[in-house]
Amino acid sequence: MSARADASTRCPSALRLLLGVNARQSWRGLLGLRQQSRLLTALIGLFLAGYAALSFMLFHKGLRFAGSFPGLGEVLTERLLFLLFACLFGLLLLSNLVISYTNLFRNGETTFLLPLPIPPQTIFQWKFIESTLLASWAFLFLIAPLLVAYGLTQRVAWHFYPLTVALIGLFIVLPAAAGAYLAVNLARYLDRRAFQIAALLAAVGLLAGTALWLQPETVTDEQLETRVLAVLDRLLQRTQFAQFPLLPSYWLSAGVQHWAEGALRGAGFFALLLLSHALFFGSLMCTRMGRAFYLAAATVQSRGSVLARWRWFRRWQARRRAWRRGMGGLEAVLAWLPGLPRDVRALVLKDLRLFWRDTTQWGQSLVLFGLLGVYIVNLRHFSQQLTNPFWVYLVSYLNLGACALNLATLTTRFVYPQFSLEGKRLWIVGLAPLGLHRVLAAKFALASGCSLVITLGLMILSSRMLQLTWPRTLYLGAAIAVMTFTLNALAVGLGALYPNLKEDNPTKIVSGFGGTFCLVLSFLYIVVAVVLLALGSPWTRHGDQPAHVVALAWVLFLLLSGSLGGLPLRAGLRRVAHFEH
């Protein structure tokens, strides 16, 4: 038996092998995408280009607007830059933490590699590189239009752009190292459930803290006219944290700003500061994390619940086990609903339980709608200033659009893959006398019902905060209700028309053709619908709109909604009625 390496072997290092294999995997994945559907490639390309163009335009206009205030322009632009990078640093840290945890400890490749003769340090190195790339690519994509816009407004030389790219390359190492270090240590001491709950609580806490910290202040017209600098100073104080000199985002922002202004020595200092930290923490990751990673991986593989060390938790678990034998609170509520057949109730109950037990699903929903909720609740501070009907009008439609966009993100992410996720369970759900078309209809009803409670609630809240009249509130409520049904119907219908029954991972299901198509169609629908509703609004700046215009706008809106939601849902229902699986 041969145990040692062949004497004459000149094999590449394990890290190089892993990099090579995974690069080949990714490249083939990209090629496969192109071969699978040109339409999908075109759609994705169009979407990305559209985002880049739109965000560039907004950033450019925004920076020019901020820079146009005499005497204050530079201060405002500088603060905007620092603030943006500070926020992105926080997001990057969170993103690296979550992705590193998943990538290091909930990943088949790690379990495959650990029993092979590869040092855990090498496995960690590869996973660190992979997590950094996965967590940071979106960051690069997000800030590219901003940096171009910034460069153009500051009229920088060509070398600003490559230097900025290099600075960003160094910068992303820091949140990546912090995220990976935190992930390894959290994995060692918290189980998955506890980790998810902790991450969620941290996110909610951060959200609440931000909402509290950035609470608007009342500024009188007199103050605005006579004490502009004092008011601005008060406002800017809230964003002072972005200029804390020990924040890596500060070094990046300062480096970029100095280079744009031609202060090359200052820029060089911050570049070296970033370089030294990136090298120090990068080398720690590459040389010192192997043992900690192995211990954490072994702990993750070994552990039940970390909370089981407490007696109250064990008692609660025992009581839950006892409950499971009975009906359970949720089932009792559903049983109370009149006219719900038992088989449909069982299906709805199953979907609700799966949703509740998957922290990612309700966690993301909570964060997205929580952010919107915080914003809407804060509208009450502005309602005093919104004396001009035009702004009230504009904000109410922007809220309608924001609410629908949030919903579209969630319907694409969670509702679209619902049918595909039944894939491996079709042996039970598909063969039940319920019939697949009723399964699909029940999913549509459940998703629409649940999301309607949230969207309608937010819309009414938004209208009340803006002190709109009840007819206007009802008008916007009716609009969001129609949009909720349409977006859910679109997601459910396309999910059944483009199923991926082999995949268990919802994010992979969503990233296919159907998911991308669903997202693009949802966004386009929202834009057209909001514009139609705004143009055909019964209330305008110049008085009441003629009835025929309002009627025409609503007919077009309903026709659009009916076709975009109804047709895919009908086609989906027809498809699953004769589904072969």
Partner: protein, 252 residues
């Protein structure tokens, strides 16, 4: 050679493996049987170094899995019940990658791959992406990748699942040949017929403890039964106290 010495693995209050000591000499074909949640998969995970034991040691080919992990792993191959494969690679690329990880010379990778691929009838699939292969074909690729570097010890967790009768036979033949040549085979299975047909010794685990070990005949004698191994297995595991609800050792 495999040597487990006073191995204990606890998950909180639950003892998944309790004071397990076992020595499997080179060239032995050992089958580990046991009801669900008996602690078989946990034992395997400790043996291949995926998890750390709470107490005790595991040695592979004379090397401590925790203290000298790389030395042990160089001599070990592991086929889990659901093997991970890189979906976008072809079987040939995957096998070559595995060989390189074990620092095999290119010529040797080619030679060993050709021989094993021929026996498992994988030639038609060598250039196709793994993602398009059936469950059984993927399982064959995983088995070939494990056998490629001629390990001294191979650990297999339910390797026959997904294999058709022909390829199950091929695997049995290869394992038998290799074990005669000195490779230690450690197989965990619920298929008693495989244990009875192939194994030199059979161990039965129940509630985290090794409750019986020996040849098929010895197990029958121990259990006081005369028929098939199934009778002995049922008698031995029935004699034990059933696991308390909520304290069942589940594979983590």
């Amino acid at each position: 050679m495999i040597e487990l010495s006073h191995l204990v693995k606890r998950f909180g209050e639950l003892v998944a493996v309790q004071d397990l000591s076992l020595r499997i000499p080179p060239g032995e074909f050992f089958a580990l049987l046991g009801p669900n949640a008996a602690g078989k998969t946990t034992t395997i995970k400790v043996l291949v170094g995926l998890i750390k034991p709470t107490a005790g040691t595991a040695h592979v080919a004379g090397f401590d899995v925790q203290a000298q992990p790389l030395e042990a792993r160089r001599r070990l191959a592991y086929v889990p019940d659901f093997p991970f494969l890189y979906d976008k690679l072809t079987p040939w690329e995957f096998l070559r990658f595995t060989g390189q990880l074990f620092r095999m010379a290119e010529t040797r990778i080619e030679r060993e791959t050709s021989a094993l691929v021929a026996r498992f009838n994988l030639e038609p699939y060598l250039g196709q992406p793994i993602e398009g292969l059936s469950h059984g074909t993927r399982q064959r690729v995983a088995i070939v990748s494990a056998l490629l570097h001629a390990p001294e010890v191979i650990v297999l967790d339910e390797p026959m699942v997904g294999l058709d009768p022909h390829h199950a036979r091929v695997l049995k033949d290869i394992l038998k040949e290799r074990s005669r040549a000195g490779m230690t085979v450690f197989i965990s299975t619920h298929q008693l017929s495989i244990a009875e047909e192939m194994a030199d010794r059979i161990g039965i685990m129940h509630q985290g403890r090794l409750i019986a070990i020996g040849t098929g005949e010895e197990l029958r004698r121990l259990s006081g039964t005369a028929g098939a191994l199934e009778e002995a297995f049922l008698a031995l595991t029935a004699a034990e106290r059933p696991p308390a609800p909520g304290l069942v050792a589940t594979a983590p």
